[in-house]
Each structure stands twice: as structure tokens, then as C-alpha cells.
Amino acid sequence: MTKKQSKLIRLTISYLIILTMTAIVLYPLLWVLGSSFNPGNSLNSSQMFPDNPTLKHYQFLFDLERSNYLLWYWNSMKISLMTMIFSVILVSFTAYSFSRYRFVGRKNGLMTFLILQMIPNFAALIAIFVLATRLQLIDTHLGLILFYVGGQIPMSTWLMKGYLDTIPKDLDESARMDGAGHFRIFIQIIMPLAKPIISVVALFAFIAPLGDFIIARILLRSNEQYTLAVGLYDLVAKQFGNSFTTFAAGAVLVSVPIALLFLVFQKYFVSGLTAGGTKG
């Protein structure tokens, strides 16, 4: 076999794999997108490419008289953004101290985080429910935000600590010689260099509440307080009048903010921001 032939085979196989993957990923997406434009309500009559597409499901969702969808959207955005902001702040602080300081309990703390992140959030469902009842956080967004933020800390701290460990300590020391204190080093030197990992942590913290159903379902009671996941589920879980096509339309719109966030953070996902600071 010549070199050219083997290259051809290699390329063909690579492209085949990529195509298969793309199909696996895109098929359900297209299906949801397609069914959101279907005129009927049922799942059976839906087609990926509807014969007579309609926007009526979207109109329904945006009609405040008939649907709480926009309210749920607002709730979800509020919760996701708050979770993102608080997670980034808390995780940055914890990760920085674990990465830069040596203190009693550091090792055990890290180990606890490691074990904690192995347990999924909903495993603590009963505990969360009891806690929320005692603290009167049932049916409040604050309660949800607190639990989501708490859930983000262990894994994200590990992620971020790993990244901060790669930022040379010489930079801290150099800043110390320049006269900077701990907080200034954190804000002016380390944080700007940690942008790539901050965006990853932020994105995770934003997506997690959007994708969560169980905890939100348990904690939220009134329809006006629902998040998207809970609200949309309500659309299809009714005994009569399931509206899968409306559900599909609602689901499509959920992806918009995530896609936007990806676009915003994309430039930070490239590594090598620390290149050039030190030799190596």
C-alpha cells in the first residue's frame, strides 16, 4: 500500500466516525426542532420536516395570558445567573486558598471535596427537603440558588485548583516583591490568568440549574415560581391534553442562552493565556 492510499483510508475512516457522531448528536436535535413547528399536539403525528409548518406553539408560549412560559424563563435565567455568579466567586476563593496556602485541614478538605463530588446532588434529596423546610426556603428561588451553588463548589474547586496550580508561583512572589498584598495578587494577577477556567466553571454553573429537574420539582410549589424544566414537564405530564409539540418549542428556546454563553466564553477556552510569563 502506498503512502497516499493509507492516508486516504485514514481520512475516510476519520470522516466516517465524525459523520456518525454528528448524526447521533444532530438527529434528536432536528427532531425536536422539527416537531416544534408541527401543527398538532401529539407526538405520533409529528414529523421531522412538517408538511405545513406553523409558529403557533411559539406564539402560545409567548402569550402571557395563556402560558407562564416567559415567567419560567425569567425564573430560570435568574437562578442560573445567580448560581453562576456566586459559584464563580466562591469557587475562586476556595480554589485559590487550596492552591496557594498551606493550612491545617487542607488535605482533608480536598479529600472531602473529592468524595462529595462523587455523590450526585439528588442523593441528598431528603436532607435538602428537610433543610429547606426548616429554613422556610420551600418554594423560594433563594433556596434553589443556595443548593445549586453548594453543589457546584466541590467539583469546580478541584477543576480550578488544578488550573491555578499551573500558574507559576513566581508570579505571586514577583507581585509580592512589587508590593502587592494577598487580595491584590488574587484579583490583579491570578484571576486575569485564570479566565479560561473561570469561564468553564461559570458555564457549568449556568447549565446545571437549567438541566436540573428533581431538586427544583421538590422545592418549588407554585406555578409562578417554576423553572423551565419543571414548567415544561408540566406541559407533557398532564393526564389529558399533553402538548409535546409545545414542549419541543419550549425546549428549543432553552438552548438559546446556553449557546450565547458559549459564544461569549469561547475565546477564553483557548489555552495558553499564561504563555510567555515565565520561561518554558
Binding site: 512572589e173 516583591m177 510569563g277
Partner: protein, 368 residues
């Protein structure tokens, strides 16, 4: 005016490793002190204690007679240049240099003036807007120096600043740092493992090994009168030859070869009659006949040449005498080839003798 004093400074880590032991040094104003030693000898640790980046376990560190042990780095008025530059990657060259001044709330126009001045001295004017990653190694090193210069600090610390540069650039930066020191006259402590850097730059050298000072002195002093075998072997390239032998009747006996001693040496070695001592002699004091400028005390030894390296101007001979290796340097004109046995001349008036047990130089002030 800035003087530094280190009194009985000791560094011990939690795991009981003793990195620096009983370090005593007075650094005069405007001095250029070089700490030199093999890696792990505690020179960087000492520097970092001076900088305030490491705590001092025992002893006192004073700047201008004020105790500094518990003063934070930022309040010590010290600027430091790191081995791997430690430039802030997200800031431009200008901001890198200005950072320390901004923190100290120096007025903007003053910052600009100082940074521009430093950039001019270091030839960085064109690069002020660039990020560090768009600079070459040498330029980055200049920025690191610039950052120290603009601070106008009373002490400069440099931790192996040239070790990441290629050899040509290293020689060039070496002379630039010396020029810079002559111009700014800031008290400087410079750490290196390269004895050539130490010899060429220092006003005084501090040679360290295993956390202990071996000798402190001017380059010439340290080179000509090493206190012990370690200093003799560490300073100078190729390093000093050490030959084992016995003192017999005022002569030095290497195997079956007898070498005549000077009167001075005979007097010093009186106490060692019949004992084994070590002869230390530098390669440039082992020549062939033609290079024997002073034959009074010169002594010829028959040496078997194992390797002869021609460096251009001279020839480095790796020779063997009675089973002991040594190195000689001869003029390249006198082509000597390997495999020959030739008479080499030991210029005994430049030789030293060391105690075999203590490895101290016999006749050094504190050994008499």
C-alpha cells in the same frame, strides 16, 4: 546608603531539613555580592529569606541596622529579578514595569518618566506595548531587570537571572548587568551556580555548600587563596588539580615522584611530616618546559598524556602521574599528542596544600 547584615541566619524546614546553617555576612553599601555554589547549597534559600519570601528560622536579618525578620517583603524596599523572569503574562511590558509603582501610588507622570528611562537604558522603548509572550528570552530578561530598576529600591536581588539564556546572550547580559550596577550603584545580591559569572561580576563572592558558607572574599582572593578544597575545586575552569601525596623530608612525594617545596611551604608543612596531604594546583600552573617562566621552584614531573584538547590558543592536557589524573594548560604551539609521556612543570610557588581530613588549606589564617 544601604547595608545588609545577616547574623547566624538558619533555615530549617518543617521536615527538619536544614537548608541554611549559621549564615553570617555583612554587605556594604553599593557592593555586588554573588552567592555561588552547586544546586541545593542553600544560596537561593538565603536570597529568598532576604527577600522575605521565606521565613528565617533562626538568626537576624538587618537592613541598615534595622531588624527585618518580621517585615513583609513589600515593606523591605527590595526589588528582585527571578530566574524565569516571572513577568505578568496579561500585562504589557509597560504595565509590567509600572505595576510596582502603581501599587505604591506613584503619580502617573512620574511612573511614565521612570519606565521610559528604564526602557531607554535597556533598549526596550520599541516593545513597551507588547505582551511578554511576543518577546524573546533576552528581551524578557531585560523587562524583568527594568521592573527592578524603576522601583528605585535600595537592594536588588537576582536569582540566577541569566541561566535561561543561551551562552552568547548570557555573556552580553552579564556585562550589561555590570554596567547597570556601575550606573545605579544599588547594593546587589546575585545568585548563580556559574562560577564564571561569579568571578566576572562580583565585588565579593560568597561560596556555599550544603547550606554553609565556605569562603567569602573578592574573586581574586578566592581564586588565589581558596580556604578549602571545595572552593579550590569549584572556582576556576578547568578546576584545580588535587594530587594525593606524602610530606617526606620537606619534599612532597607523589607515588615515586618527589616534588620540591618552597621554603614557605616547607615551614607550613612541618607538622605534617610523614603524613598524607593533598596538593592543589591550578591547570594554568602546570605547563610544559617552554612555559616555565620561573624555574626556581618549578618542578618537572613525567606525565603520561591521556587526552590533548586543542582549544585554539592553548592546549588542555589530561595527564596522569603515578595513577592520579590532573590537567595542564600549555601553549598550542608546542604540539603535544596523546599517548606521549612528557615532562610537565609544576609551578610550586602557586600551589596549595590541603589537610586530607578536614580538606582545609594548610596555612590559611584559621588553620594555623
Amino acid at each position: 546608603m544601604t547595608t545588609l547584615t545577616l547574623k547566624n541566619v538558619t533555615k530549617r524546614y518543617d521536615n527538619k531539613v536544614q537548608a541554611v546553617t549559621d549564615f553570617n555576612l555583612e554587605v556594604e553599601d553599593r557592593e555586588f555580592i554573588v552567592f555561588v555554589g552547586p544546586s541545593g547549597c542553600g544560596k537561593s534559600t538565603t536570597l529568598r529569606m532576604i527577600a522575605g519570601l521565606e521565613d528565617i528560622s533562626e538568626g537576624d536579618f538587618l537592613i541598615d541596622n534595622k531588624r527585618m525578620n518580621d517585615v513583609a517583603s513589600k515593606d523591605r524596599d527590595i526589588a528582585m529579578v527571578f530566574q524565569n523572569y516571572a513577568l505578568y503574562p496579561h500585562m504589557s511590558v509597560y504595565d509590567n514595569m509600572a505595576y510596582g509603582l502603581k501599587i505604591r501610588k506613584v503619580p502617573k507622570d512620574e511612573i511614565k518618566r521612570r519606565v521610559d528611562d528604564a526602557a531607554k537604558i535597556l533598549g526596550l522603548e520599541k516593545y513597551l506595548d507588547r505582551k511578554p509572550k511576543a518577546l524573546s528570552g533576552g528581551q524578557r530578561q531585560r523587562v524583568a531587570l527594568g521592573r527592578a530598576i524603576v522601583r528605585d529600591a535600595s537592594v536588588f536581588l537576582m536569582d540566577e537571572p541569566l541561566s535561561n539564556l543561551d551562552s552568547k546572550l548570557r555573556v552580553q547580559m552579564r556585562s550589561e548587568i555590570i554596567k547597570l550596577h556601575n550606573r545605579l550603584n544599588t547594593t546587589t545580591i546575585y545568585v548563580t551556580h556559574d562560577q564564571t559569572e561569579a568571578m566576572t561580576m562580583a565585588s565579593r563572592i560568597v561560596i556555599m555548600k550544603d547550606g554553609v558558607i565556605q569562603q567569602v572574599g573578592t574573586p581574586k582572593d578566592v581564586y588565589d587563596n581558596p580556604d578549602n578544597m571545595f572552593v579550590g575545586g569549584f572556582i576556576g575552569s578547568p578546576s584545580m588539580n588535587f594530587l594525593n601525596g606524602t610530606v617526606v623530608n620537606g619534599q612532597f612525594k607523589i607515588g615515586n615522584v618527589l616534588v620540591t617545596l618552597t621554603d614557605d611551604q616547607q615551614a607550613r608543612l612541618k607538622a605534617y611530616e610523614g603524613k598524607e596531604v593533598v596538593l592543589g594546583i591550578r591547570p594554568e600552573h602546570v605547563t610544559d618546559d617552554n612555559g616555565a617562566y620561573d624555574v626556581t621552584h618549578a618542578h618537572r614531573v613525567p606525565a603520561f598524556i591521556e587526552v590533548a584538547e586543542l582549544t585554539g590558543a592553548e592546549q588542555i592536557l589530561y595527564a596522569n602521574l603515578e595513577g592520579q589524573d590532573f590537567i595542564g594548560r600549555v601553549d598550542a604551539q608546542n604540539a603535544i599528542e596523546r599517548g606521549q609521556t612528557v615532562d610537565l612543570v609544576f609551578h610550586m610557588e602557586r600551589a596549595h596544600f590541603f589537610d586530607k581530613e578536614t580538606e582545609l588549606r594548610i596555612g590559611a589564617v584559621d588553620t594555623i
